[in-house]
């Protein structure tokens, strides 16, 4: 079976010219030189060269066996959340190489968890951390520096109390609030055009900064709000964004964390329910979905979707130090 030319990533104008000139399959172009192709198909020399160059990229797409993938997964760590019950439910924390969505009502702690992860990803490896850097894409101005510095200071104090051997003491010298701040790259995106452009640049940014292990995108829904009157365009853009994020996560072994807000879906008969925003299709986009919600005065986190974890609900709290386990005695008292 021959591969049709229309399956190549070429502009539709060039494809149309090639087809009119009688070239339908890749095999029709074999052994042709650029000048000859340009003459016969009526395309420019550059276009002809681009077509032939596309053909030569005949490298088979990268593949691996599930066994190799298993080994790779074992090497890739997770970013701890400093909330041991959530880490337990996620099998060690927010996994590298996967995309994770956090959604919930305002004030539930989505941004707090993002800030916490941005600090935690920098915990040195000898403390069981990842020792990476972070890119924080902020769409709503939620990156509050004072709060971030507070969380960083708490994490530094926490680790310095844990430091036992020489290696950990040496690591502590470079694990300070200052280094945490300088290893955090904040990108402020005001609208979806800036966001899409930034995503296009990401692969080259990540190639230049190989230590980045976490990409946070806080507030996925806000930049796409101007598109509310053209929902199909929004869905298309988001579909592309999802593919780019997945490619970044798997290609660079980065954990991608996206936050999303809630919206109301009318069920008819005057009933309604809260669902994550951005539509049904977006729900497929990311690998893991974490739902943060209230129950009475308790904050709960539920794994709503994951390829590898059961749907577990755990309790957490947001203290002045950041995203933490609920104090056991306090939890018992609440019950």
């Amino acid at each position: 079976m021959q591969r049709p030319l229309s399956t190549l990533p070429l502009s539709s104008a060039v494809k149309a010219k090639l087809v009119t000139a009688g070239f339908h399959f890749i095999s029709d172009l074999m052994n042709l030189k650029a000048p000859q192709l340009s003459r016969e198909a009526g395309v420019s020399q550059q276009e002809a060269m681009a077509v032939l160059a596309e053909l030569e990229q005949g490298v088979p797409p990268p593949s691996m066996s599930a066994l190799q993938l298993l080994q790779k997964e074992a090497e890739l760590q997770s970013i701890i959340t400093f909330c041991s019950s959530l880490d337990g439910a996620l099998g060690g924390g927010v996994p590298l190489g996967k995309t994770t969505e956090i959604y919930g009502v305002p004030g539930i702690g989505k941004t707090q968890l993002c800030l916490q992860l941005a600090v935690d990803v920098q915990v040195p490896q000898c403390f069981g951390g990842v020792g990476g850097e972070v890119i924080f894409m902020d769409t709503e101005g939620t990156f509050v520096l004072q709060r971030f510095a507070e969380l960083a200071a708490a994490a530094v104090t926490h680790c310095s109390l844990l430091a036992e051997d020489e290696e950990q003491r040496v690591a502590m010298e470079t694990f300070t609030v200052d280094t945490i701040l300088s290893n955090t790259y904040v990108v402020r995106c005001h609208d979806y055009v800036e966001l899409l452009a930034e995503l296009r640049l990401l692969p080259s940014i990540l190639a230049a900064r190989p230590k980045v292990r976490l990409l946070v995108m806080d507030g996925m829904a806000a930049p796409f709000r101007p598109l509310l009157d053209d929902l199909s365009a929004r869905t298309r853009h988001l579909g592309g964004v999802a593919l780019q994020l997945a490619a970044v996560a798997t290609g660079h072994d980065v954990a991608v964390v996206v936050t999303n807000q809630m919206t109301t879906r009318l069920l008819g008969g005057g009933r309604s329910r809260l669902v994550p925003a951005l539509g049904e299709l977006w729900g497929h986009a990311l690998n893991i979905r974490l739902h943060l919600h209230w129950e009475g005065s308790q904050r709960l986190a539920t794994i709503a979707k994951s390829p590898a974890h059961a749907n577990v609900t755990v309790q957490y709290q947001i203290s002045s130090d950041g995203f933490r386990d609920v104090d056991q005695s306090h939890a018992a008292g609440a019950k």
Partner: protein, 308 residues
């Protein structure tokens, strides 16, 4: 359709090709549909030679009729039914995935599509000892989960590793990469994979809608064409290599809130069998409904447990 080239058939040499081109006959289609007598006079070549060339070209480029009896023989000898390892799912599929066909699972987010794909991959590779190609377009493929499923089946570590070895994973995040992969698979990899114990019997694309849906809608017409190309590549691959193809698709909501498979009407003709998965809230079970089938009455419903 096909451009005339030297040595395509006996008697078609370089001079003749350039001679024909000079009078505007460039493709096989042009040659076959033109008046040979007139053409012979204009190119000053022998009528007989041209007629012979035309006969050979026609033979090379036409489809041959096959008798139904022969087809049936071939069907019986080449079709395999791959059990999915799940009795309820097998019941809906009329005992399993049929080779040569495209089967689709559709459902909302977290409805269990990927989990079903994982368990099908594990079952084919472990129980049936056949190779599986798994195309992952969302990065959700987790080998640790496959291992977990295998551990339920067997304690033998070596068998677990062998089973994982037989699953080839491609992680592709755009439609051109997917097309490239499918055509590469047709070309060489399917035979190569056969060397490593067990031929490739199943190709799973999870999910096909993730790469296709960003292309559809709006004013762009190219997306539709690419979707049809993907569909065509999957269907012919299933048929030509006797492979069971399993794809996953999202769902959309109609005006009255009813659930329907995504990717529109054109795609709905591609899968031979469609199953809709719906997760029961706060449980690990989902209900599977047969919504398209050529063998069974539609709307049969079964319950699946996703934990095992």
């Amino acid at each position: 359709m096909v451009v005339l080239r030297e040595n395509m058939c006996p008697g078609l040499d370089g001079d003749l090709v350039s001679g024909l081109r000079a009078v505007g006959v460039k493709t096989v289609e042009d040659l076959v549909s033109s008046n040979i007598e007139d053409l012979a006079r204009r190119c000053s070549v022998s009528y007989k030679a041209l007629l012979a060339i035309r006969r050979v070209l026609l033979a090379q480029h036409t489809a041959f009729p096959v008798s139904g009896a022969d087809l049936y023989e071939e069907l019986l000898s080449s079709t395999a039914i791959l059990s999915t390892g799940n009795t309820s799912l097998d019941k809906l599929l009329d005992s399993g995935l049929y080779t040569g066909e495209v089967t689709e699972l559709c459902g909302g987010p977290a409805s269990g599509k990927s989990q079903v794909c994982f368990s099908v991959a594990v079952n084919i590779s472990w129980r049936l000892k056949q190779s599986v190609v798994y195309v992952d377009t969302s990065g959700g493929m987790t080998a640790a989960r496959l291992l977990q499923m295998l551990q339920v089946e067997t304690d033998n570590t070596e068998e677990q590793m062998e089973a994982l070895q037989r699953i080839t994973v491609f992680r592709l995040f755009d439609v051109y990469a997917l097309l490239h992969c499918l055509y590469e698979l047709r070309g060489a990899s399917l035979q190569q994979a056969a060397v490593g114990g067990g031929s490739v019997k199943a190709v799973i694309v999870d999910s096909v809608s993730a790469v296709l849906s960003p292309l559809l809608g709006g004013k762009q017409s190219e997306g539709m064409s690419l979707m049809i190309q993907v569909a065509f590549a999957l269907k012919t691959m299933a048929k030509d290599f006797n492979i069971a193809v399993l794809v996953t698709n999202h769902v959309t909501r109609g005006r009255d809130g009813e659930v329907q498979p995504g990717l529109g009407v054109s795609w709905s003709h591609i899968p031979r069998t469609r199953i809709l998965l719906e997760r029961h809230e706060h449980t690990s079970t989902c209900s599977a409904t047969l919504i398209k089938s050529s063998r069974q009455p539609c709307n049969i419903r079964e319950q699946l447990d996703l934990n095992t």
